[in-house]
């Protein structure tokens, strides 16, 4: 069953602007991961945040996690046309069961 819901479903911004995507989930988690998928391709791992962490950075990416609200956000700063892709959050429920359960995804379009 789908664990996460993402919003917005679609986001269109101008190059140079920041893009924020949100993910909500239903049950307690061990960690939450963000993946990117270019059209018709496989997924690429972007960043992982553990349940005891509140914020992580990686280059132009910033991820936050609020376990009390069961939500996470992904911020892409200074967006580029090459950032156009679908972005999925995925949760891992426990350290023993490490399957990913994906959210519904956000389609980001960055206009040049």
């Amino acid at each position: 069953s789908q664990q996460g819901e993402e919003d917005p479903q679609a986001l269109s911004i101008q190059e140079g602007e920041n893009a924020t995507m949100n993910c909500s989930y239903k049950t307690s988690i061990n960690n939450l991961q963000w993946y990117r998928q270019n059209s018709g391709r496989g997924l690429v791992h972007l960043i992982l945040i553990r349940s005891n962490e509140r914020e992580k950075h990686s280059g132009r990416l910033r991820v936050t996690l609020d376990t009390s609200k069961k939500s996470s956000s992904l911020l892409i700063t200074a967006s580029r046309a090459a950032d156009t892709a679908s972005y999925f959050c995925a949760t891992v429920l426990s350290s023993s069961a490490r399957q990913l359960t994906f959210g519904s995804g956000t389609q980001l379009t960055v206009l040049p």
Partner: protein, 115 residues
């Protein structure tokens, strides 16, 4: 330098005609996954192997089966494809054990079309 390879990238089959999709990896990861992703939807886990141990998701149809003859290769068999099985099929791997990252590495996918 491809790490997770899926062949073919596009597969066309006929309604009811068995089809096999393949995945190979050069990462020597002991966990391998098969996902189904329909258009504009999230990937949905079908099953995974932890070494040779097969783990089926509860809602994976019986029509789908898998084989993992060795660490490097994993196959997805669809015994009698229906129109609803048209989708992108993604293979992924993960290393397990103390100190390993928990990220999954995905192949480029095989897009299946059922006529």
């Amino acid at each position: 330098d491809a790490m997770v390879i899926q062949n073919p990238r596009y597969q066309v089959t006929q309604f009811g005609k068995p089809v096999t999709l393949s995945c190979s990896q050069t990462l020597n990861h002991n966990v391998m996954y098969w996902y189904q992703q329909k258009s504009s939807q999230a990937p949905k886990l079908l099953f995974h192997y932890y070494d040779k141990d097969f783990n089926n998701e509860a809602d994976t149809p019986d029509n789908f089966q898998s084989r993992r003859p060795n660490t490097s290769f994993c196959f997805l068999d669809i015994r009698s494809p229906g129109l609803g099985d048209a989708a992108m099929y993604l293979c992924a791997t993960r290393a397990s054990g103390v100190g390993t990252k928990e990220t999954q590495y995905f192949g480029p996918g095989t897009r299946l079309l059922v006529l």
